[in-house]
């Protein structure tokens, strides 16, 4: 079991991870969607506007069915999970508010997207992903 970090360090770690993640995730989603599978855990779950998809393969299949996209994040926040929950494994939650424009769909949408990320062998992976349009 890793040594428990103090809260300040966990916050710092969460902050750095969330900043990088939000850029990487949307860049991959918009431009290199075929690489998205590397970001999700095998057992990850996705809830997309009420559609529930579980398991990496299904998530990738679902995301592939969406039109090409262009996300812009306007707001980002993150929190570390508390020790009682994380039990030594570093995990964070990330919240994004922004807009997304899909190919062939005229109006952009405002969206809220929430993630739970966990570190596995020093790599951050998405445990859960929840997106909803604000409309």
């Amino acid at each position: 079991m890793a040594t428990e970090l103090d809260f300040g360090s966990k916050e710092e770690q969460a902050y750095q991870a969330a900043r990088e993640f939000s850029k990487l995730f949307y860049n991959t989603f918009d431009k290199k969607r075929h690489l998205l599978n590397r970001l999700y855990l095998d057992t990850a779950s996705l809830v997309w506007n009420g559609h529930s998809v579980t398991g990496l393969d299904n998530i990738i299949k679902f995301i592939d069915s969406l039109p090409s996209s262009e996300h812009t994040a306007e707001n980002l926040d993150c929190q570390p999970l508390i020790s009682e929950v994380s039990r030594g494994q570093l995990s964070i939650i990330v919240k994004v508010f922004g807009k997304v424009k899909y190919d062939n769909i005229k109006e952009p949408r405002a969206f809220n997207q929430d993630f739970l990320l966990t570190s596995q062998n020093n790599v951050w992976k998405i445990v859960s992903d929840s997106l909803r349009f604000q409309e």
Binding site: P67, D77, Q79, I82, V85, P108, S130
Partner: protein
């Protein structure tokens, strides 16, 4: 009638029209010369210029195609071989349209008459002209009283006339008549009336476009009546055919022409407000040369699937691009020049399908199904669904939890939320203006001091200070946020991760601020990610991350619209599936829970109201009971309190 005789020439022309016109290039570039007979290369102007605006037409003065005048007023019989010397095509219509009787130009234009006159062409003054407008201008007419002018003209004119839109344009008095005989009679009054100033009254009478009268509320009401007459609810069909001839509209002072975008826009907003479900739209016989005028219809009537554009003046298949947003399965284009550009039916069908891939019926004919590729070019988004709870067990827990949480959150005392949070719980709030709302947004200044938006540069100290840790700090932070009233009907829950030790879910919806001084408190939208862990029989919040923005206009419109629940409806409006209000959760102590259960049993009120009553009376059971009896006697307890 020689007018029609003139047009008949065109059939001869039509018969010889052939090459080039089905070539795709025509759709792309209007400026290419056309090789068919009767068409000349034209100058550099994009011919779209003809289709816009209601003013005098551009071009043509340098030498219009004489044949084009036939379309306006012409009583000119010319052979097809006659060629004008000009290089600017004046009127591109009329030659190809087959067999129309109504050849009069939609915008009778005195200039064309003048042109004809200059060219030494005879003008048929006896042509029927019921829908022609004449503008009567009286120079210096402003100096005389309107009553004097009209009275003396009525006396002098040998034909009665009805002046429309009498107004002043600088020092001129101007009005309109829609009657050729009256116009001619008025013309004869020129210099025959002496004005009070001693000068003779001058009268200039010209053919003109229909007057544009302002749309006052009364006119709009009349317009609505006309539209409802034209609407067939059982078919969701609106017939806007031949609007220019609608007597009801004319009586309302709405003189439609294909350039009156304002009228169509008004109609579009009436549709949007009253019949957004509209599916069949008939826009035939409106003399439209362009579909620009219909752009608002596309946005206000998004569900149109059947469109009739028969007998308009559309020249290019590409005009339809403006309507691509409509997922049409039927369209009628017959009677538009663009149809004549296709010599092969298959090319025509493909061109229409390119714009409307779902087309099944074209010009009344069923089309064979298209052969498509497996990769759909036009990928649509999956439709948005309701809340996702994973399973009914989670739903029950969740509904209970949220009901309690937001009841307390919206109450005067958020301190009661203390026990809803784990002692090490983490909370933060961030806010940003809505990314898509273009109009001015309500100020979020009460939230910005607490805002932890990490997309902006934010100092580490401040960032960490804004991340609240521990239930005491969290409740203190919650106290600093404005008091709220959440709209229970707006709440949507998505459970994204559930295990025996952990629930991760997002709650979103709208609220308004309880203490807002504004007449119309702004509607805010929130999205809140919770992470909860089991605790005793319930659960506690380990993480709570809140984002606040302004509601979208659609959200604001819907907010707080649903009436308070009636006895017959559900006591838990958050979700479509009902869960009875459950045992109080972690927000109450064991003793309190027992007290609530007992109180509920004795009072017959549900748990929620029992808890509310006890809470408001400081958990004094007897006092609560007295207050309850008193309120019940005064019939002040809403029936929903008894819905279990």
């Amino acid at each position: 009638m020689s007018r029609r005789g003139g047009f008949r020439v065109t059939t001869k022309y039509d018969g010889t029209r052939s090459f080039g016109e089905h070539d795709d290039r025509w759709q792309q570039n209007d400026q290419r010369p056309r090789h068919s007979r009767g068409r000349r290369p034209w100058g550099g102007k994009n011919n779209n210029s003809y289709s816009r605006g209601g003013g005098p037409r551009r071009g043509g003065r340098s030498g219009p195609d004489p044949r084009s005048r036939l379309d306006d007023d012409g009583d000119v019989s010319m052979s097809d071989t006659d060629r004008g010397s000009g290089h600017q095509r004046y009127n591109p219509y009329g030659r190809q349209n087959r067999g129309y009787d109504n050849r009069r130009d939609s915008r009778p234009d005195d200039q064309s008459r003048d042109r004809a006159r200059r060219m030494g062409l005879p003008i048929d003054n006896s042509a029927p002209s019921a829908d022609k407008w004449y503008k009567v201008t009286i120079p210096y007419g402003q100096k005389a009283e309107k009553s004097f002018v009209l009275k003396s003209l009525t006396n002098m004119s040998d034909v009665p006339f009805k002046p429309i839109n009498y107004h002043y344009d600088q020092n001129r008095a101007v009005f309109y008549v829609q009657d050729k005989r009256a116009a001619d009679a008025l013309k004869r009054c020129h210099r025959r009336i002496t004005m009070p100033s001693g000068f003779k009254m001058l009268l200039l009478v010209n053919l003109t476009n229909p007057p544009v009268l302002p749309m006052d509320p009364e006119t709009v009401e009349k317009l609505k009546v006309c539209l409802s007459d034209r609407y067939e609810p059982s078919l969701k069909a609106l017939n806007l055919s031949d609007l220019g001839q609608d007597e009801g509209l004319k009586n309302a002072g709405v003189y439609f022409t294909a350039t009156r975008t304002d009228i169509i826009n008004k109609i579009a907003s009436i549709i949007g407000e009253n019949i957004p479900e509209l599916e069949c739209l008939n826009m035939s016989k409106n003399k439209m040369r362009s579909l620009d005028i219909m752009s608002r219809l596309v946005t206000h009537a998004p569900n149109v699937t059947k469109l009739d554009l028969r007998d308009n003046k559309l020249r290019h298949i590409s005009d339809l691009n403006l309507l691509k947003q409509w997922k049409l399965d039927e369209i009628v284009l017959d009677g538009n020049e663009l149809c004549d550009k296709f010599h092969e039916n298959s090319v025509y069908i493909s061109a229409v399908r390119e714009r409307f891939p779902k087309i099944k019926k074209l010009d009344g004919h069923d089309l064979p199904p298209p052969i498509t590729f497996d990769i759909e070019a036009d990928v649509a988004l999956p439709p948005t669904k309701e809340s996702f709870f994973l399973n009914s067990e989670v739903q029950t827990i969740m509904v209970k939890f949220l009901k309690e949480y937001f009841t307390l959150f919206d109450s005067d005392n958020r301190h009661n939320l203390l026990q809803a949070y784990h002692e090490d719980a983490v909370f933060s709030v961030s806010c940003s203006y809505h990314v898509l709302v273009q109009s001015k947004q309500a100020n979020l200044k009460e939230y910005f001091p607490h805002c932890r938006n990490l997309t902006r540069a934010i100092e580490k100290d401040r960032r960490q200070k804004l991340l609240k840790r521990g239930n005491g700090a969290i409740v203190a932070a919650l106290f600093q946020l404005p008091k709220t009233i959440h709209d229970p009907n707006s709440i949507v829950v998505d459970v994204s991760h559930a295990s025996s030790s952990l629930l991760v879910f997002t709650v979103s919806g709208v609220f308004k601020e309880a203490d807002s001084k504004a007449d119309k408190p702004p509607i805010r939208a929130f999205s809140r990610q919770f992470l909860t862990i089991p605790s005793g029989s319930g659960m506690v919040i380990a993480n709570d991350m809140l984002h606040i923005t302004n509601a979208s206009s659609h959200q604001a419109q819907k907010a707080f619209k649903q009436l308070a629940p009636t006895p017959s409806s559900s006591p838990v409006p958050e979700t479509s599936q009902q869960a009875p209000f459950p045992q109080p959760g972690p927000a109450f102590t064991v003793e309190q829970q027992a007290m609530i259960a007992k109180f509920s049993e004795q009072s017959a009120m549900n748990m929620e109201w029992s808890a509310k009553c006890l809470e408001q009376n400081g958990w004094n059971y007897e006092k609560s009971g007295q207050v309850f009896l008193e309120l019940q006697r005064e019939m002040k307890i809403p029936s929903e309190a008894f819905v279990k």
